[in-house]
């Protein structure tokens, strides 16, 4: 009798345990470095917002670890012979979070919404897109005004996110408050500045790769507090760990650390033609002075001091590991003697300029190291710390000599160079404008062949890196710290946390 009782009890206990584990919700709590802006792929504009989107809104394409384009909502694609049209075959059986079907009409609607919605941040990215044709219910054709090689990369970011037309029409410009997409997780709630909660979407097309029930994103701007939350067990994952905290995480067996070299860069933009100030300062006026300035810098030293070694040195808009890195212009070694000789040649042995820097700790440290290094070659660098919004305003008005500015980067090299070096582009704070550079930049957009594009970028590097509207310094590491119970994270260089495939061990 006792044995029977015991067996019954054990069976009951097992059933109960199974029931509990079957219903145990897994929640991944992610600490973000900033509060995302509006969660509408058309209007969104922040890097951190893209992290949330990677769980919420699938795109036509995605990128992999090597920055190659891989299909996501698209199944396959084909360029027209004249490269002026892209035909995309869509993945069958995909539904939006509201149960609507994702088909060619939905893709057409989303792309047109990106193009026409007032305040859209995607319009520029899709500028060459002239029209979208629905070929059949699962095929769309994107007609372009001119060949545009970065198109696939654009469609692998927010411009390629497809929203539910029904929800978007109903919500209008308030869609971001209740976004409805076709990603692995659906929107549950958002408390401004506090949290964004997403829940696993049971009808996701790739549901077998989704292992966690809920994701909670918590914006915690202070990196020390973010880490404290991870260490006290209130977060499972934090992005953008401070480089100075790396040893602390490494020495704690409870946590794992992932380092990914970013697709963006840290650089110093020089006013070479944005305003009259450019001609008044030898740095802006004379390319030899800029060359001397670059030769005075020891990039390894800057990375050690400003980033605690957590960055890869670089001298171009893409990292040396990138397929489009121009090998004909390698990273110059520090050469103070040559720098001094160049300054002598330029007739200014002690040039003086102001280095404007945002008030972030990284930027301040860069400015201080640069100041000290450049002094050895004879430069008198005055640091001007300026609050970010003000510094942008001054940069836009050309009220600066040199400006410490970082760029989060885009998968296609075009996203890191076109708007910065082409004449009169919005991010061309340097005021750099050269017809031959403009021609090369345009050619890089119309050339679809990768090897051809590489040649164009090599030619471009030979000119632009000699003119130095931007002195590129390094490419930061995306530093992620997370509980060692977490498994399956992919290291994609865009720094976005992809939750598909992630599980708790």
């Amino acid at each position: 009798m006792t044995t029977i009782c015991r067996r019954v009890l054990v069976t009951l206990a097992c059933t109960l345990a199974f029931a509990v584990s079957a219903h145990a919700q897994t929640t991944l709590r992610i600490g973000l470095a900033e509060d995302p802006d509006v969660l509408d792929p058309t209007l969104a504009r922040t890097f951190v917002g893209r992290i949330v989107f990677s769980a919420l809104c699938d795109k036509l394409f995605d990128i992999d670890e090597k920055l190659a384009i891989v299909p996501q909502l698209a199944e396959s694609y084909q360029w027209a012979a004249d490269s002026k049209a892209l035909t995309i075959k869509l993945r069958p059986g995909v539904t939006f979070h509201d149960g609507e079907k994702l088909d060619a009409d939905a893709v057409k609607y989303s792309l047109e919404r990106h193009k026409t919605m007032p305040g859209s941040n995607r319009r520029g990215e899709l500028a060459p897109l002239a029209s979208v044709d629905v070929v059949d219910p699962m095929t769309v054709r994107l007609n372009l005004s001119a060949p545009f090689s970065p198109l696939l990369a654009q469609l692998a970011d927010r411009a390629g996110m497809i929203v539910s037309p029904k929800a978007a029409q109903a919500e209008g410009d308030k869609f971001g408050a209740h976004p409805v997409c076709a990603g692995p997780y659906k929107f549950v709630e958002r408390v401004a500045q506090d949290r964004i909660v997403l829940e696993r979407f049971p009808n996701y097309w790739n549901k077998d790769a989704v292992h966690i029930d809920r994701i909670v994103y918590l914006p915690i701007p202070d990196s020390t507090v973010r880490l404290a939350n991870l260490r006290s067990g209130q977060l499972d994952f934090i992005e953008r760990l401070a480089p100075s905290d790396v040893p602390q995480v490494k020495s704690d067996a409870r946590f794992k650390l992932t380092k990914i070299t970013e697709i963006g860069y840290q650089g110093i933009t020089i006013n070479v033609g944005k305003s009259d100030l450019a001609q008044k300062n030898p740095l802006g006026r004379d390319p030899r002075v800029r060359e001397a300035f670059e030769l005075a810098l020891d990039r390894d030293g800057i990375v050690q001091v400003a980033m605690d070694g957590e960055a890869d040195v670089g001298n171009q808009w893409v990292a040396p590991t990138n397929a489009f890195y121009a090998k004909n212009v390698p990273i110059p070694k520090r050469d103070v003697a040559r720098a001094k000789a160049l300054l002598k040649e330029a007739g200014v042995t002690n040039p003086s300029f102001t280095l404007m820097t945002p008030t972030t700790a990284d930027a301040q440290r860069i400015a201080q190291v640069v100041q000290a290094m450049a002094r050895e070659a004879g430069f008198d660098v005055k640091i001007q710390s300026t609050e970010f919004a003000t510094s942008l305003d001054q940069a836009d008005k050309g009220q600066f000599d040199a400006y410490v500015l970082a760029w989060s980067g885009r998968a296609d090299p075009d996203g890191n160079i076109f708007s910065f070096d082409a004449c009169k582009q919005p991010l061309n704070y340097a005021g750099y404008c050269k017809p031959d550079v403009d021609d090369l930049l345009k050619r890089s957009r119309t050339t679809l062949d990768v090897n051809e594009r590489k040649k164009v970028y090599a030619d471009l590097a030979a000119i632009a890196l000699r003119d130095r509207p931007i002195v590129y310094l390094y490419h930061r590491h995306w530093l992620w710290a997370y509980t060692n119970k977490l498994d399956g994270l992919q290291s994609i260089p865009d720094g976005l946390v992809r939750v598909t495939g992630v599980r708790f061990k």
Binding site: R45, G124, A192, Q193, D194, A228, S232, E387, D396
Partner: protein, 314 residues
């Protein structure tokens, strides 16, 4: 009393109008183009133009002010361009959080500050006095953000007793709410406790040396009653004013404290709004705070008049 109240209320209207001009005007003086900041990394000129139009930045200053004031008078503080939410809803969302934080902080400040001040005054020149003064000095000179991070490291990371940051609504889980609030409230209350202690001490010292206290003692009133009933009650008058004025300190302190502890309250709302040049939010929140500040001063004045009838004539 009625006439006094009426007079005080009448002054509020022009004060608020003046404050609104100041808030709007000062905001315009902020360097940096809000449309450019809000346009994000890409800074697409078309987006910037659209934002300018939406924010009426293409209109002259008086017109923009008139638009805003008209909205405010109709209870519409505008909409946050960054968060796409009405400012009124944001205030309604965030205010209870900061009020709770401030409320707990004030309680902590009162519980520490007033008894410490009384003890220090009564035992003037003794070890108690020096100890209380040292604690007060420490409280005044410790920066909020530093103390916050130290407490997080001690109570959350090392001991694991309290959450490191974040906020849980008391309606959701009161226990979790208090656990999340106690550290930031202590950080916030700490500095005010020090101010209250110093003021209570000096007010008590002044009152304790006055004639009526000597008379009370001569009459043989118990020392406890002399201190609590005769001295403290009079000493409390300037403390009440101070308490109301310290509400401002509390709000400005909340800005930093909320930032450190990532509490989605008023302080965090305004800091984020300033850095993102979210004009409507900054204006709405500052105007609301100014109004609250003015009203609290009114309450203090009224309490003052209740405590001291001579004031009603002034």
């Amino acid at each position: 009393m009625g006439a006094y109240l009426l007079r005080r209320v009448a002054i509020i209207v022009p004060t608020l109008l003046f404050a609104s001009i100041l808030i709007f005007g000062l905001q315009q003086l902020l360097p940096g183009d809000p449309a450019m900041v809000l346009a994000g990394e890409e800074r697409d000129p078309a987006v910037i133009a659209h934002l300018r139009e939406t924010m009426h930045l293409d209109r002259p200053f008086p017109v923009r002010y008139a638009y805003w004031l008209r909205g405010v008078l109709h209870g519409d503080f505008g909409e946050s361009l960054r968060m796409q939410q009405p400012v009124r809803a944001l205030i309604a969302d965030k205010l209870p959080v900061t009020l709770e934080l401030a409320g707990i902080a004030i309680v902590i400040a009162l519980v520490i500050g007033i008894p410490a001040g009384v003890v220090s005054a009564v035992h003037r020149g003794t070890g108690w006095d020096y100890a209380a003064n040292a604690v007060a000095l420490w409280g005044l000179s410790t920066p909020n953000f530093w103390l916050g991070i130290m407490l997080i490291l001690l109570f959350s990371v090392t001991l694991g007793w309290l959450p490191a940051s974040g906020y849980v609504s008391p309606l959701e889980n009161l226990r979790a709410n208090l656990a999340a609030m106690i550290l930031p409230a202590f950080v916030l209350g700490n500095a005010i406790a020090a101010v209250l202690m110093r003021h209570t001490r000096s007010a008590m010292l002044q009152v304790l040396s006055s004639d009526y206290v000597r008379t009370a003692r001569a009459k043989g009133v118990r020392e406890r009653d002399v201190i609590l009933k005769h001295a403290l009650r009079n000493a409390l008058i300037p403390i009440i004013t101070l308490g109301a004025l310290e509400f401002g300190t509390l709000l400005s302190g909340a800005v930093l404290t909320e930032q450190v502890f990532t509490i989605p309250g008023f302080g965090k709302l305004i800091v984020d709004a300033v850095f993102n040049r979210d004009y409507a939010v900054v204006q709405g929140v500052v105007l609301f705070t100014a109004t609250a500040y003015i009203l609290l001063n009114l309450v203090a004045d009224v309490l003052y008049a209740v405590a001291n009838p001579r004031m009603r004539l002034g």
